[in-house]
């Protein structure tokens, strides 16, 4: 089995993102960048599948600026075999990302595409579903457990009502949730070794995708702030306050 894993370069989840004063975007200068945490879980899963002997090749792909090579190198150090970068400085919207990935899928013919269920920058949660629609293949979103059985996979999904299990035929697209696994830390020797692994970079523009479905980002603003409240000294005072506010 060949697995394609998507890795997006995003602002690290520990960074408290701030909107620029002129409302033109968010401050990303000098901010720590990382692999989208959900994508890291997708890659970890691919590596575990390969370690179990159920896959023989893992290809990681990123769409983004040249600096995304860092995230791809980290992916290679974790255990991916090859990397592909579709390089662009534009903010890529989900449909374009899905179309670009379809291109890669058609060239690479993977049995499985593993992706994060959302990227923690735009929080759209669309690209995996769009890719599977464009590809005409099954989707299993929000996966917290994946079991293979020949050319089928049983996927347990985290849904609002609890857990749901579906079975999909391969090839398929799966988007992963947080509880699927805990990604490994990469060790120094692996980082050194990863430098020798192949990383193919080409401009996204070469694919000739149109951006005519793109939305306009009109303005960015900080969220409404909740004012800090007051500290109560005792349970009795808390209960009084809640009663005064008509909440009890």
């Amino acid at each position: 089995m060949k697995i394609l894993v998507t890795l997006k370069r995003v602002v690290d989840y520990n960074v408290r993102v701030r909107v620029k004063n002129d409302g033109s975007g968010v401050e990303t200068d000098g901010v720590k960048m990382s692999i989208n945490p959900f994508d890291e879980i997708a890659l970890e899963e691919a590596i575990r599948i390969k370690e179990r002997g159920e896959a023989d090749e893992i290809v990681v792909v990123s769409i983004g600026p040249d600096a995304s090579q860092q995230q791809l190198r980290t992916g290679l150090a974790m255990g991916a075999d090859r990397a592909i970068l579709l390089e662009t400085d534009q903010w890529v919207q989900p449909l374009t990302a899905a179309q670009a990935l379809l291109n890669v899928v058609e060239a690479e013919t993977p049995d499985l595409v593993l992706m994060g269920k959302q990227a923690i920058d735009d929080d759209c949660s669309q690209t995996g579903q769009m890719l599977s629609a464009l590809w005409g293949r099954p989707q299993a979103t929000f996966a917290s457990k994946i079991v293979f059985n020949d050319r089928r996979a049983e996927v347990t999904r985290e849904v609002d009502a609890g857990l749901e299990t579906i079975a999909v035929e391969l090839p398929a697209v799966m988007t992963v949730d947080l509880r699927l696994n805990e990604p490994r830390f990469v060790k120094l020797p692996e980082i050194m070794k990863a430098k020798k692994k192949p990383l193919d970079s080409k401009p996204l523009a070469e694919l000739g995708l149109s951006a005519d479905q793109d939305f306009e980002m009109v303005a960015f603003e900080p969220p409404p702030q909740r004012g800090g409240g007051k500290t109560v000294e005792s349970v009795a005072e808390l209960v009084d306050e809640l009663k005064t506010r008509g909440l009890l």
């Binding site: 449909l95 599977s132 005519d212 005792s234």
Partner: protein, 313 residues
Amino acid sequence: MAKVLIIAEHDGRSLSPATAKTVQGAHGLAADVIDVVVFGDALDAIAQDAAKLAGVTCVRVVEDASLAPALASRLAPEVVALSEGYTHILAPSTTFGRDLLPRVAGLLGCNQVSDVMEVVDARTFKRPIYAGNAIVTVRVPDAISPVLATVRTASFAAAAASGSAKVEAASAQAQDPGHTEYVGAEGSSGEGPDLSSATVVVSGGRAMGSSENFELIGSLAKKLGAAVGASRAAVDAGYVPNELQVGQTGKIIAPDLYIAVGISGAIQHLTGIKDAGTIVAINKDPDAPIFEVADLGLVGDLFQLLPELEDAL
């Protein structure tokens, strides 16, 4: 003028409250027509509930055994088949809508607005990004039709049950792609109010320490008629099942009263409770970030304070 199609969410027995909130969101579009489509099998009661939602023009009922339980790959082509003539297609931003609508978008070859928190006009919407650390105003250019959007249910009240729309049967038009099969589901006991729509929620965090101790949360919630929630750390540790997680990757909720016990207040958790009416925090660390957003903060050991609180009620 806008002509809106809303994809109803239900569990086979009743209409999800998320549908009523999506209808409320659609009111902001100044639409001529708001139709609701219900897919599944044996839908009479669900269709009747949808027909009562204020502002709904027509409930289109597509009954077919192959449409239940709902699978995105089966439903998406049905939505596409019905999409003709609509300017907007909406679904709730629940796991149901977030699974289905982007697949519809893929089939139609357009982008989608995720998690609409405010309708500015029929083509302009506000939505949260970066775990709610920024709000972006998105405009869908005039050339793009239909406009696809999921509606963040915590941002809208439920549409009133005061209407009487007509109910129309339609038949399934697409083929079952046959590559995806429903296997089964497991969910909570269904005891107590539903977390997504409860007016009072009591949540516990890592500090609870075990599922036995988490009973302290359950018993306080029972006394308050509240739903139980949890932080990711509490879910990861196995104290409670995943459907109780509140936050960026769990449920986004807007209860009148939210009580956070032994939860530090990580940004990903706070995203889930920004719209709560009153936030109460109980934490032994006076510097915990949860106190920055709490309306009422009580510093102390939860194992002492929770029983005291329950007694005081």
